[in-house]
Symmetry: C2
């Protein structure tokens, strides 16, 4: 099963939903609540996939929240709250659950979106945590995955690659940075996504049938211990990838390429198609 | 692990959260979004616990939504949307997933809260679906679990017991009925919960240290094939249990007892303590 294909087949039927202002397919959905708009996304953390059984349980809880709040950053939203469900193996010690929820609670409150509801169940499988984050969009509207334009700079916050060495447990979702970018770039900020599956694959979600992203791999900001290959493929960077017609300040982001006419989605300057480089969903 | 105790220990630390108007512990939490209020609840369906592997997948999806939307009914809220995550066994056929999501989508739209986001992951465990429902509270405010008063009638919608014969897959969340009850009873409607774990256990959540619910089991509206014992213990009725100082119309609910001074939480008229009767969370 390929997650994206399956979700697309499911959601192809979900068009023109009453009250839904951003439908499935972006980092978050958006609905109207009376006069307000609300962004909402759900994301899962599976022990054995995203962390191991020996990962510190507080760090597991923190990561479950951080992964989902990274979606808020990708829309330039502001967190308002979240709920978290847990399905844990039948004989899981209460202390372990308590530590996971403790780590999650601390992180959610630090980032302005406190946990205000939850559900706990048990099964024979590995622990699965599902976090639903709620956020408000910026006044000018959420930044979407769509909107790329020819000639845009392709930009990324922070550093890429070798996340497994520790970054995947300690990263801060780029909520503040996204808001600063929107403030500084305004309408020049055309589209944005967070890098969870890998630069190549996630960048492909910004491309269109006519426009491709051309990446100069010599410009990639490498994390300590990262290779160029890893920076393109590793994933779990939780950095913001965006295109903009204006250059962002160097303190906030690095320009790594440009948007050109072409149908290859994502290519390097030497012509390698990297659209599928990244972590494949099983 | 006992779900309620664990959640309570976790949420004991979640007091005075900024923007949270109803904290963890009720059927839904509530937060402020600018000028509006939003109700939110998360609920899981685990294959092997709430349904079997041979349950029709469309019915599984429908039930995942219905369980969570029953929480909306318990607050007398109005659905606005939902998101659903799925963690399924690694080699699950796409068709099965598609059918589950199809059943969920149909139900969610029928009840006015369309699915507008989702996440899919895989693991070695059984399939787990987590639904987060969003709703608006009634203008007079959500009906809480707290607020019971001495002399109240204890009332229940529909019928109880033997849900396993089919009702647990076919029930409609009592969203409309809750709103009618609130309309008709107004401030006389003191508190409400939906019956998922069993009448005895769920009724105990409405009791206080000074006030107990006294149930006349001869008045229990039995579902076809149900025994009195089953009506108290079976659970998965997804009916509304509420207390009111005015009698509800017989078309909407049955009076099954009264609220009296006492510390036994939930007792029958012959003195049996049934506060713990119901499905115990493993």
């Amino acid at each position: 099963m390929h997650e994206l294909e399956l979700l697309q087949s499911i959601y192809a039927r979900s068009t023109n939903l009453s009250g839904v202002t951003i439908g499935p397919g972006d980092d978050m959905g958006e609905i109207k609540i009376n006069s307000d708009r609300l962004l909402c996304a759900v994301d899962q953390l599976v022990v054995g996939t995203h962390v191991t059984e020996t990962t510190n349980p507080k760090a597991i809880g923190r990561k479950a929240i951080a992964r989902c709040f990274s979606d808020i950053a990708a829309m330039a939203g502001s967190p308002v709250g979240c709920v978290m469900s847990a399905c844990v193996p039948t004989h899981t010690p209460n202390d372990w659950c308590d530590a996971v929820f403790g780590g999650a609670k601390e992180a959610a409150e630090l980032w302005g979106g406190p946990i205000f509801g939850g559900d706990i169940a048990s099964s024979d499988g590995p622990a699965v945590f599902s976090v639903t984050a709620l956020a408000t969009p910026p006044t000018q509207g959420a930044v979407l995955r769509t909107g790329i334009q020819e000639g845009d700079f392709v930009c990324v916050t922070g550093e890429l690659g070798n996340s497994i060495a520790g970054h995947h447990l300690s990263f801060n979702p780029r909520i503040q940075e996204a808001q600063e970018l929107l403030q500084l770039l305004g309408l020049a900020l055309h589209c944005m996504i967070d890098i969870s599956d890998g630069l190549g694959q996630d960048a492909s979600h910004l491309s269109t049938e006519q426009l491709q992203l051309v990446i100069d791999t010599s410009l990639l900001p490498l994390r300590e211990g990262a290779t160029v290959e890893g920076a393109v493929r590793d994933g779990e960077d939780y950095e913001l990838l965006f295109t903009s017609s204006a250059k962002p300040p160097v303190e906030l982001a690095t320009v790594i390429g440009t948007v050109e006419q072409g149908m290859l989605q994502v290519v390097t300057t030497d012509g390698t198609d990297i659209s599928n480089y990244g972590w494949m969903h099983k």
